[in-house]
Subunit: 436 residues, 2 copies
């Protein structure tokens, strides 16, 4: 370490935690195309969505309020793991010998290990106060399923998780985590839903996919009294709840006396990146010069190779049709380690901002993101999730561009989750067995 450094990180006091979420909808540069009913193809009404979601979340989905107050019960649980630290990555900067300043918001300290509880806790709360007794959801790699398991445990809701079968078999630790917090976890496709039975009829050895699991979970919710469905990404209200990340980060950057020139995040459905980016995007939409970059896998290149069009959110084409970048709702990406980035579409808000030129996107192959993750682990110590490693790779690339140009830019990325339950991927990498 050259010379005296500091501060290494900024942690807000409990009193400084934001008490409202930032709603970007009224600030968007163009109206968001409405979701359409999957059968009628007419704009969805609140009544169309009511079998799936509680009314408060449906309202948030289209709210024109600039800020929405976080309920006290939600804040109380946030305080288990929030506020999260924002670090300056001095060691990574030195390793890269770059004049750039690198900052990262660390969302890995929640009990399930990622940003996902920020919305899980809010969703469980709104369901609870509207009398819902039971939630259903899907999970791929397991981050979302475990976050919702924790949230449901806190609010006394039952939860059934449809876990993509191949992950169910490969990730017993994630399943155990969900069961520890009281959820019922089943491998999808199951033979207990029409969507599942259809998938099994086509292929009895079907390994499952996120699209099928969504279809199963949604069907379960609408066919069971007292049940609703919960989604961990993509939707406007999910992005809204995640803005706690960016609101904290903004206050923390201010305490560093800095403002980011570039804001980076990995994108699957878009929730962690929306959460970090939107409070800064608010400034860009008012004219501030900030660059935004989404990092995604080449194996599922939604923003870099997808089309901006109306598509179904799920494989069985029963969920609302939304305007987004999509690879097609039948697209099944290869089984990369970044299971959380394997969704065929993207959050409509993020898609709109990308389409209008407010955000850029890049895609990386798996071996390159593990190279970046290794560099990060050996300088900053943290072992990041393979999903997060996409943001790390993008950050390193931008920092190296600064080295070439001599510019001292401020780069901020979202460390959305740790990789402690993904060490199998690191093991393959170290053994030289990892392929793109």
């Amino acid at each position: 370490m050259k010379g005296k450094k500091g501060p290494y990180k900024v942690i807000l006091s409990e009193k400084e935690v934001p008490t409202s979420w930032y709603n970007i909808l009224p600030d968007l540069p163009a109206p968001l195309p409405p979701p359409l009913h999957p059968v009628t193809r007419e704009p969805c009404t609140p009544e169309d969505l009511a079998p799936l979601f509680p009314m408060e979340l449906i309202k948030q989905e289209v709210s024109e309020e600039g800020y929405i107050e976080i309920p006290e019960e939600v804040l109380a649980i946030y305080k288990l793991y929030r506020p999260s630290p924002l670090h300056r990555a001095y060691r990574l900067e030195e390793e890269l010998d770059t004049p750039a300043k690198i900052f990262y918001k660390n969302e890995s300290f929640s009990p399930p290990g990622s940003h996902k509880p920020n919305t899980a806790i809010a969703q469980a709360y709104y369901n609870k106060i509207e009398g819902v007794k039971r939630l259903t959801t899907e999970t791929g790699a397991g981050q979302w399923g475990s976050a919702l398991s924790l949230a449901c445990k806190f609010f006394g809701l039952d939860l059934k998780v449809y876990m993509v079968k191949v992950s169910y078999e490969q990730k017993p630790y994630r399943r155990t985590m969900m069961e520890t917090w009281g959820a019922e976890v089943v491998p999808s496709p199951t033979d207990t839903t029409n969507a599942g039975r259809a998938a099994l009829a086509d292929d009895p050895a079907n390994p499952g996919s996120l699209g099928i699991a969504i279809s199963e979970a949604a069907e379960d919710a609408v066919t069971h009294e007292g049940s609703k469905y919960s989604l961990g990404s993509v939707l406007n209200h999910v992005c809204l709840h995640q803005t706690i990340v960016g609101l904290e980060a903004k206050a923390q950057m201010e305490k560093f006396g800095e403002y980011p020139d570039i804001v980076i995040g990995c994108v699957g459905g878009g929730s962690n990146y929306s959460g970090l980016a939107f409070p800064f995007m608010q400034d860009k939409l008012k004219g501030k010069d900030v660059r935004f970059i989404s990092a995604e896998p080449v194996a599922c290149p939604t923003l870099t190779k997808g089309k901006y069009e109306y598509d179904y959110g799920d494989e069985a084409a029963t969920a609302p049709i939304v305007m987004m970048y999509t690879l097609g709702h039948k697209f099944i990406p290869p089984a990369i380690h970044a299971g959380g980035l394997r969704y065929h579409g993207d959050a409509p808000i993020l898609s709109l901002l990308t389409n209008k030129g407010y955000m850029d996107a890049v895609a990386y192959p798996q071996t390159q993101i593990f190279d970046a993750a290794m560099t990060f682990a050996r300088t900053e110590g943290m072992i990041v999730a393979p999903e997060t490693a996409h943001a790390v790779k993008c950050t390193i690339d931008e920092a190296l561009k600064c080295k070439e140009s001599g510019e001292s830019k401020n780069i901020l990325f979202n460390l959305s989750g740790h990789g402690l339950l993904d060490l199998g991927g690191y093991g393959e990498y170290l053994a030289g067995n990892l392929v793109d």
Copy 2:
């Protein structure tokens, strides 16, 4: 949650992090019996220890200074994960319906997931500045080995870890973590040391033990130029470095406006508990009324069933002989999930304080500590390490005693590590397959 609560946790600012460790040696109620040379049985001289440790650590081992300044280079790395939060466990209190106030110091946010880096970083630093090029160590469950791997990576030291063979095979994730941070990891017993070969000659299928691995690592260090050995618990300098935990906790309790009536920790070699307890013990030694309880497994009941006598620190009887509670250096405990609590002895300082009546000890069977861990996970969210679960069990027991007596005691325990790489144990528990 009944009524309005707060604060849920206290986090010190980076500036409030203690800059010295607390050395309990000059405050002890009786002189610590000196370590003896394993062959001559005479008190060890600094020269006896020099082949194993750098001189600064040997000095710290017998220092009479009340506080020892933390080097700036060590503080800089501490700031990656320190200061750690101190939480008030409101949800656990409500679940137990106890008038007790429960607090926990959360040491699980370091990159390897436990308190172990507090001493690993300091040890790597002192070795580095004395020109050491390479360290050797042993590890059981892997927490210590991964902490030292991280520390050696930061200071550019090579590291060879002798990992107890049964853990090496059962815990590939811990091995991958160590390799991610650049360490060489081998299953012990190996055929590359006399101690290892002797163990294999007795039993070619020897599953290994911490005692054998210590013998191998120490032998490797003294027979290789430029190498020293590093131990993660037991020794005075290790307990010294861990006092950062208790010093922070004291400042945090003060911010809560409280002082603990009972201080609890799990004990294997004794490092995490010493770290939390000693700064509070300083007050007890001056007359303050505080109770201290060590929690250990019935499978390795060193403090509750062991003898207070001189014994070897390692299985091959080549390490110094120290005065401690011990089950005998040939004792091999059953393969409980709390691998970090399977050492036959205990820190000499902790043993002395226990023997003189300043500390109590309790022992729990494995099923009971997992019951407690489940209660904790379902109220406070955190999935704790099986080692830490012993402290949770003790805390719950004491809180329930308060419920009976109606006393509103303040209970503080050390959440020494998370259990994310121990979810196999939780899985066995949930499946009903866990035995004592």
